[in-house]
Amino acid sequence: MFFALQATTEGAHEWSPVLPGLVILLPLLGFVINGALALTHARRSADAVRAGGELDLAAGDRPLTHTLPTWIGPGVIGLAFLITVVNLVGMAGADLHEPIIRTYWTWIVTGSLTVDAAIQLDQLSMVMMLVVTGVGFLIHVFSVGYMKDDPGYPRYFAYLNLFIFFMLVLVMGAGYLLMFVGWEGVGLCSYLLIGYWFSDREKSDAGKKAFIVNRIGDLGFLVAMFFLFTTFQTLDFVEIFSAAPERIPYGHSVATIITLFFLLGAAGKSAQIPLYIWLPDAMAGPTPVSALIHAATMVTAGVYLVARSSVLFALSPIASATVAGIGVITALFAATIALKQYDIKRVLAYSTISQLGYMFLGVGVGAYTAGVFHLMTHAFFKALLFLGAGAVIHSVHHALHHTDKDWDAQDMRNMGGLRKHMPITWATMWIATLAISGIWPFAGFFSKDEIIWAAGAWAGAANAPYPTLYTVYWVLALVTALLTAFYMTRLMVMTFHGANRTGEKEAKHLRETPAVMWVPLAVLAALSVFGGWINVPAAISESFLGGFGFLPMGENFHHWLEPVMAGAHEIQAQHLGEISHQAPLFGGGELVWALASTGLAAIVVLIAARVVGGQKHVPAVDAAEPRGLGRVLYRKYYVDEAYDAVIVRPVHALSRFSWRFVDDVIIDGTVNMAGNLARAFGWVGSLFQTGQINTYAFIFTIGVLVILGWVAF
């Protein structure tokens, strides 16, 4: 795949993509079929309820509505993945410097705006397609086992297919407007899937929260598009990126405004400060959904947006610094919260926010390739962690269900010692943990290290715009890396090691998951190990960390994305000058710091294992709330409460004021007054209607007088 690239560039030839539209259409087809099945099922259960009974799925053979999605749901995604792979091989064989545009029809023509329904195939969208369809396929397969007994099975797969469809529109659209269609579409699917168990008030509220918080970001995206259109008269990627360097001078405010509004949109979708609050609550959805949407794909759309708009961001050092700043602060902030969470999915949620912060840091310091690279490796190991957590929850839930124990199946305080019950899950999740902690030679090491190094190198660039700021970023990124290692190890130790806290009777029912669930885990584990090897930095490839050249892929990923990022890199080279080869503050090259970071991370993992393993854990029901700083972290810095006090309550009060005063008093009062006035006038008029001819004659005479007087004077 990637590694084949350099070998074949010499024999480059014209290449035409194979059925690219089908990649998008297949998930849509899956959605249509599964949706129809879901509707059929809904009507049947409604009929059954009306008949006084209930549709019993456990009795006898499952109906067609619950067997077909098993094949159609993952099937269409698998086919789409195959087509993507075929295209990838073709693209790798071709020396492609310009994106391939496939225009299907003209979508909107209004004024000077023309938008085509067109897809764009280039190296970046190919990477995203691979991640979306590949990881998506594995998660679909996992879902078959995870959601097996859920009555909404066909609906679940319909939503999931629809999500993949919109996500592909997002990454394959050839312009911002089409990207926005996908952007909104994945938001919709996210809402539908978070609130999948909508009969639970808390869960449907979480869906609404995600939707509403995302709206704020979407507004930023829209405004940015307005600015783009007024500046360029088009929304096509190719036209904008080729015109931008000439049209907008370096550092000009137009670029800053556009990119800052894009950043607002990206912060909403990718759960960055200040709009990250929806992601932890989004864990209300089924766990595979968290893996697919809230870890691997949708939340990385913001990173994709920045990477796709790299030319615009490169033109604005202020916006880039803001992106990086928000990213690194989010990374640190979320990592500290993750230290004290007990819900296994919440730890992973904050971990995701933190890792997304890393990606923002990457694209913010101009290392667009590194950001996308981390996006990809993160998709592997974070999806693996979520699916592993899903497997654990699945198992614990069933065990608790057996004895009708009313405990939280997601609370790590109720787990412990699961290793001997679920060895495969345990092993794969440890791989993912090492990967996310940045331990060599796992995937996370290469991608995260590159981002951290890029932050440091940018600080030392010849014409670096804010060298001190970037130095701070670099330090914070390093600290966060160590925190990551700590909280992930804590999660693993609390879940899998030590004594079991689920309960004696329950522990007997803890089971390893079926093959349909652990096989995807294994595949993702393999990707988490090897996935990083496609982009070993040149500085370390010949050293011990590069396996003395044994990891043969070199900077392949970097070269692969070079055609897409060329514009941005050109601007950087022009205005930043030579990038430093020494780390700030302490000096030392990339190799030294890579060694240091992996070594420190490994030490932190060992320390964490000892510290957490040495603590005495009690089940959640017996546990006291942490005190001091721990409580602040456990309560997530009280950010939700602060938002509630600063935004929600004032808005609520304002709404009440609008309702009680503006609407009830002013508006209703005006309307009622109009009616009362008419009534009063009518009453006054009715006084003249005495029914007596004299009165009418009198009034008549006055009228004559008035007219005569008007004529006379």
Partner: protein
């Protein structure tokens, strides 16, 4: 002569109007309307001295209409009297809302 006749016409008209407004007896009111009509007739005849024979023709038509009106009006008064046993308009207030 014309101007003087017109002055007389105006005064009679005003007196007729006063009668319509202040009297309650419906027959007297009706008479006052006839008075107004006659005032107008006088004005027409006066103008005919200046404008031509058309003024007199108008009076002819007005008189005819007045005759018709008197016939119908008196019939209505009789009809109302049968109903209310009175000719006092204060009692005829069915027009009130």
């Amino acid at each position: 002569m014309i101007t003087e006749a017109l002055f007389v016409s105006a005064l009679i008209f005003a007196i007729g109007t006063l009668g319509v407004i202040v009297r309650r007896n419906v027959i007297i009111m009706f008479l006052c309307i006839e008075l107004q009509l006659n005032a107008v007739n006088l004005a027409f005849v006066a103008f005919s001295r200046s404008v031509g024979i058309e003024g007199q023709l108008f009076v002819f038509f007005v008189m005819t209409v007045a005759a018709a009106e008197a016939a119908v009006g008196l019939a209505i008064i009789i009809s109302i009297f049968r109903h209310y046993e009175s000719v006092n308009v204060d009692k005829f207030n069915l027009l009130k809302w």
